[in-house]
């Protein structure tokens, strides 16, 4: 069964092409083919998961074929499967399958329905490539490919200027991080001499990579992860990415692609573990991101953007856990988060599908109209806020334990972010589903979504409720995903139960506060908004990060204009054409000199000769007496000279 895993991405690739070429003639315009392949992929992943837990397959498993060689290096195409791979595989295939089912309803009637499914399959293929590959080079390639799919899907409704813009923004922001990734990859290659993940990990375990190289590679690669996983300061693209259709947000911008950065750090954890500096960079970037993004979600009125900031914040949590040395906790949170965040996005999509707006100020009271969406959203909210016994409680709790064990300040930041999370989710819940309808017309038109959409919601809700509890039974997840190497620092001892109680109380209180405020006393938030307007302004400007990056773009444009002006006006027009001009002038001068000096000199010589001839000709009289006279005079002169001497 492991031998066939390589087919997962290949089939998804093939089906993407199939849908694009022949979708017209397939059932559901090709969606059926995409769903079938995704379902098969999920079944494979699930069986792998079960077998790995049972221990009936030997991990890690590796298989590859030669791809191309350059010099003495052989690049390979292949798969590398261990517990980490399987955990990620399960997330990718499950969410991909549910999102594809859901989209048959959500995208129903869209003129580019077929293309949507082709893109989704292409994305799934690339994401499976990221998950499965055995080579960091292929990892980077698939990493870039998911970026392009994200670009295409964010800008799927490209007639909307904002969607086209958001796609471009996402691509370029993540590309900025990818420059670091590329350089980090090269550092890693020259430190290890290979791209193969198994060899890199082996070498790292054996201490065969110098700490400085590991640290440099780790930090540079993390820049790429910061782009993809929307970490500070590169997270600016993710809120705008919500211009894409909601299923895309659920699949790409909540569950899978944005988790790829976290997965990358986990994949190369042995390398990171060689460098305390790199670990700290990961941990603190994660913590700052978790806090900042949670605060940004507080003032948002766009339902999907609240969820987007929440995603950024939770990704920060995962990074913080990994950086703090808690490998299992980070990946555990990635797993549970993927399900409940996908649920929240799909539920939000269901709402948006019904009311045709993202603005929570135009919603309200929808729980009567959309009971299934409401209940599933509620369950997702409870899972996200970390109320026991929902999934998020288990994973978030472990992240906080890890943070406390590493550094109390990390813990404090994490706890504050957790409090804010509960608060903004309560706010979103109330504004969307409770109270009185703000927009009567929209409310009247709203209706529950069809079964293809609510079905996935219910399934995801079930997973969000139980997955945390199930996966911690018999330390199931820990057995699957664990790190056996040594960490570069000591951890403090921490009481798990104390952290669990503390974090649950914080979440519950904060949520209760949010519910009470927005349900009973909406005047207070309004007052707070007015009183602290500078803070609110800062949050609405997103800490001026967008402005900062736009400034960079301006500088780039300015540089471009400057360089081109130099290129054309100076280099081309003055130096090159100037030279040509000078050559022309010089040759004119030469021609003139030729005319007036060289040629003139010749003419003058000629003229002189002529005049000399003319003068001497005067002596030629033709009279013999004159000649005799001259001869006589000459002889006398010579004689006089001779005798005188």
């Amino acid at each position: 069964m492991l031998e066939y895993v390589f087919l997962l991405p290949l089939l998804s690739f093939a089906v993407a092409g199939l849908i694009l070429a022949f979708g017209k003639w397939l059932p559901l315009k090709g969606a059926s083919a995409g769903i079938a392949v995704a379902a098969w992929g999920f079944s494979q992943a699930f069986m792998l998961f079960v077998k790995a837990i049972q221990g009936t397959i030997t991990l890690p498993y590796e298989m590859s074929i030669p791809w191309f060689s350059f010099g003495s290096t052989q690049a390979t195409l292949g798969v590398y499967i261990d517990g980490l791979t399987i955990a990620m595989l399960l997330v990718v295939t499950a969410v991909s399958l549910l999102v594809q089912i859901y989209s048959t309803g959500y995208m129903h009637g869209d003129p580019r329905f077929k293309r949507f499914y082709a893109y989704l399959s292409l994305f799934t293929a690339s994401m499976l490539g990221v998950t499965l590959t055995n080579s960091m080079m292929v990892f980077f390639m698939c990493w870039e490919l998911v970026g392009v799919c994200s670009y295409l899907l964010i800008g799927f409704w490209f007639e909307k200027q904002s969607a086209a813009y958001a796609g471009k923004k996402a691509f370029i922001t993540t590309k900025l991080g990818d420059l670091g990734f590329l350089v980090g990859l090269m550092v890693l290659f020259y430190a290890t001499g290979t791209f193969e993940i198994s060899k890199i990990l082996e070498l790292a375990h054996a201490g065969g990579i110098p700490a400085a190289a590991a640290g440099a590679a780790g930090i540079l690669l993390f820049l790429g992860a910061a782009g993809k996983s929307a970490q500070f300061p590169l997270f600016i693209w993710l809120p705008d990415a919500m211009e894409g259709p909601s299923p895309v947000s659920a699949l790409i911008h909540a569950a899978t692609m944005v988790a790829a950065g976290v997965y990358m750090v986990a994949r190369l954890y042995s390398v990171y573990a060689l460098s305390p500096v790199a670990m700290d960079v990961v941990a603190w970037t994660g913590a700052i991101t978790a806090f900042m993004a949670a605060s940004l979600a507080l003032t948002c009125f766009d339902l999907k953007r609240v969820l987007a900031f929440s995603t950024v914040s939770q990704l920060g949590y995962m990074m913080m856990a990994l950086g703090a040395g808690a490998y299992t906790a980070g990946m555990f949170h990635l797993t549970t988060h993927a399900y409940f965040k996908a649920l929240l996005f799909l539920a939000a999509g269901s709402v948006i599908h019904a009311v045709h707006t993202n603005d929570m100020r135009e919603m309200g009271g929808l729980r009567h109209k959309m009971p299934i969406t409401y209940i599933t959203f509620l369950l997702g909210t409870l899972a996200l806020t970390g109320i026991p016994p929902f999934a998020g409680f288990f994973s978030k709790d472990e992240v906080l334990v890890a943070a406390l064990a590493r550094n109390p300040y990390l813990f404090a930041i994490g706890a504050m972010a957790a409090a804010m999370t509960a608060f903004y989710m309560a706010r979103a819940l109330v504004m969307t589903f409770h109270g009185k309808p703000k927009d009567a017309q929209k409310y009247d038109h709203a209706h529950e979504s069809p079964a293809v959409m609510t079905g996935p919601l219910i399934l995801l809700a079930a997973v969000s409720v139980v997955s945390g509890w199930v996966l911690t039974r018999h330390e199931m997840f820990e057995k699957l995903v664990n790190f056996e190497g040594a960490l570069p620092f000591e951890l403090h001892h921490v009481s798990h139960s104390a952290v669990a109680i503390f974090s649950s109380i914080v979440a519950a209180l904060s949520m209760a506060l949010g519910l009470w405020l927005y349900k009973k006393r909406p005047d207070i938030p309004a007052l707070v908004r007015e009183t602290f307007s500078p803070v609110v302004n800062m949050l609405e400007k997103r800490y001026w990060l967008d402005a900062f990056f736009l400034k960079l773009v301006d500088i780039g444009d300015y540089l471009g204009a400057f360089m081109f002006s130099f290129d054309f006006n100076f280099l081309d027009q003055i130096v090159i054409d100037g030279w040509a001009w000078l050559t022309l002038k010089l040759s004119r001068l030469q021609a003139w000199l030729d005319d007036h000096v060289v040629d003139a000199a010749v003419d003058v010589t000629g003229a002189l000769t002529l005049s000399a001839g003319r003068i001497t000709r005067l002596a030629q009289t033709g009279l013999i007496q004159n000649y005799l006279l001259i001869v006589a005079v000459a002889i006398s002169v010579f004689a006089a000279i001779a005798f005188a001497g």
Partner: protein, 486 residues
């Protein structure tokens, strides 16, 4: 007669046949041009098939005495460095001829010059006698001059004369270099392989002078900063098919020359010049990308992106390693395919809208899905998207150079970002957003255009997924080449 001679001869015969056809028989002239270039392509396909990828030695060699008094031979052959370029030339010529069926002015002369140009280009890549090389090198110049000067845009005369004089200046310096090599060999010879053996032993100062003379000639063709300013002008003014050849093949003559002669023949000078070469490569990459970003004219943007992409090539060459050289040669091929098709695509829109102003369009993707799809594929390939042809070459260039010049390479990555920025901005402005109703009357691509562009798009994908189609040809020669340079 060897296969190579046949490949060079076929377009020459074609050109002569066209001369014999009355200028009014347009269909016949087009047919003849297509037929001869297609035969040439088929023969080069045969070349690909017969080429032995296990050796670095010259293959399909033919050597005939030509001017015995000066020891000059008609001497041709190919190895891994040149074989792919020969095929690329044959392919792009056929496609450009097909695309150029829309030319209506002086059709006979156009295709005559076009086939003659092909002879020159093929000759440069197969010649192993430096004198013969020079003859072919100059042979490309005259057809190009007329192709730009007669069939070009509004400033065609200026562009043509500038191109001609600039490159001629370079070739004259190159000729000096060639003669210096000739007179420093005993017995005097133009045999490239023999010169490589002998010139290696010259003292450093001599090597430096010769390198410099050759370099200027080659650098103008690449074009390397600061000798690149003829390129945007020539590209913008040239007709579409000619731009394709110019970017796809002619630029490679420069990098090819350096790798064929300068590096192996003058290893001491190469080492001495290396710091300059890497700096110029980085300038080409970053500066070329920034200049492209400032462009409003689509064609000029693609032209400057060529400056940027040839910078990657030079980066790989400055690596002085098998990785970098493999990348550089692969980059030459893929740049030919990708930028060639980008110039075609620019031509498609210009033929319809009679403008190339990026700001004049908007939302075209909704009405011209085929055109938009092809353009997006090629743009993505050009900005180095994995899975498409541009990536592997670029990656190997960077990887190779990183070993020797990590900080320069880190700076050069800025070029990747800027390239992505200007191309995506172009896509956004031209294809996305609300449809600009001004262009409602335009039609999507026709058959002639599709036939010219689709093969390149297919190759872009195929080589992206399976780069061994190219790398297997290149690698043995590169390994050998790196060996003798080091």
């Amino acid at each position: 007669m060897s296969l190579l001679s046949l490949i060079v001869l076929v377009p020459l015969i074609g050109a002569l046949v066209i001369l014999a056809i009355p200028g009014t028989r347009i269909k016949l002239i087009q047919g003849v041009a297509l037929a001869f270039s297609a035969v040439c392509l088929l023969l080069s396909g045969l070349l690909y098939h017969l080429f032995d990828t296990s050796t670095a030695a010259m293959q399909f060699v033919q050597k005939v005495s030509w001017i015995p008094a000066f020891n000059i031979y008609y001497y041709v052959g190919v190895d891994g460095l040149s074989v792919a370029l020969v095929i690329l030339t044959a392919l792009l010529t056929v496609l450009a001829i097909i695309y150029s069926f829309n030319i209506t002015l002086r059709v006979k002369e156009f295709f005559f010059w076009f086939l003659l140009l092909e002879v020159g280009m093929l000759g440069v890549f197969v010649a192993l006698d430096f004198f013969l090389f020079y003859v072919f090198w100059e042979l490309t110049l005259v057809p190009m001059y007329f192709l730009i000067g007669v069939w070009g845009g509004p400033k065609k005369e200026y562009a043509a004369i500038k191109f001609f004089l600039y490159t001629l200046f370079g070739s004259l310096l190159m000729l000096l270099g060639i003669l210096a090599l000739y007179f420093n060999s005993t017995p005097h010879t133009f045999d490239m392989l023999e010169l490589i053996n002998q010139a290696r032993l010259l003292p450093l100062t001599m090597q430096i002078w010769i390198f410099l003379a050759l370099y200027v000639g080659f650098a103008i063709k690449i074009p390397a900063f600061p000798f690149h300013t003829w390129l945007p002008l020539a590209h913008v003014e040239a007709p579409t098919g000619v731009s394709v050849i110019l970017a796809g093949v002619l630029l490679k003559m420069g990098t090819y020359g350096i790798m064929r002669v300068s590096f192996p023949a003058l290893p001491l000078a190469t080492k001495w010049f290396l710091p300059f070469l890497i700096v110029i490569a980085v300038i080409n990459i970053v500066y070329g990308a920034f200049c492209a970003m400032a462009q409003k004219d689509l064609k000029k943007m693609v032209a400057y992106s060529s400056v940027n992409h040839m910078g990657y090539c030079m980066l790989g060459m400055a690596a002085m390693s098998a990785t970098g050289f493999n990348g550089a040669v692969l980059q030459m091929i893929t740049h030919g395919l990708i930028t060639g098709s980008l110039f075609f695509l620019v031509g498609v829109i210009y033929d319809r809208a009679h403008t190339r102003d990026i700001d004049a369009f908007g939302g075209l993707a909704a009405r011209f899905p085929v055109y938009a799809g092809l353009m997006i594929i090629q743009v993505m390939a050009s900005l180095g998207l994995p899975g498409l042809a541009g990536f592997v070459g670029e990656f190997l260039c960077f990887l190779g150079a990183f070993e020797a010049w990590p900080y320069y390479v880190a700076v050069a990555t800025i070029g990747i970002l800027v390239t992505a920025a200007f191309f995506l901005r172009m896509i956004e402005k031209v294809f996305l957003g609300p449809f600009n109703e001004k262009w409602a009357g335009l039609k999507d691509m026709n058959l002639r255009e599709l036939v010219a562009i689709v093969p390149l798009a297919v190759l872009t994908v195929v080589i992206g997924i399976w780069p061994r189609f190219c790398l297997d040809l290149i690698d043995p020669t590169i390994t050998y080449l790196v060996g003798i340079i080091k």
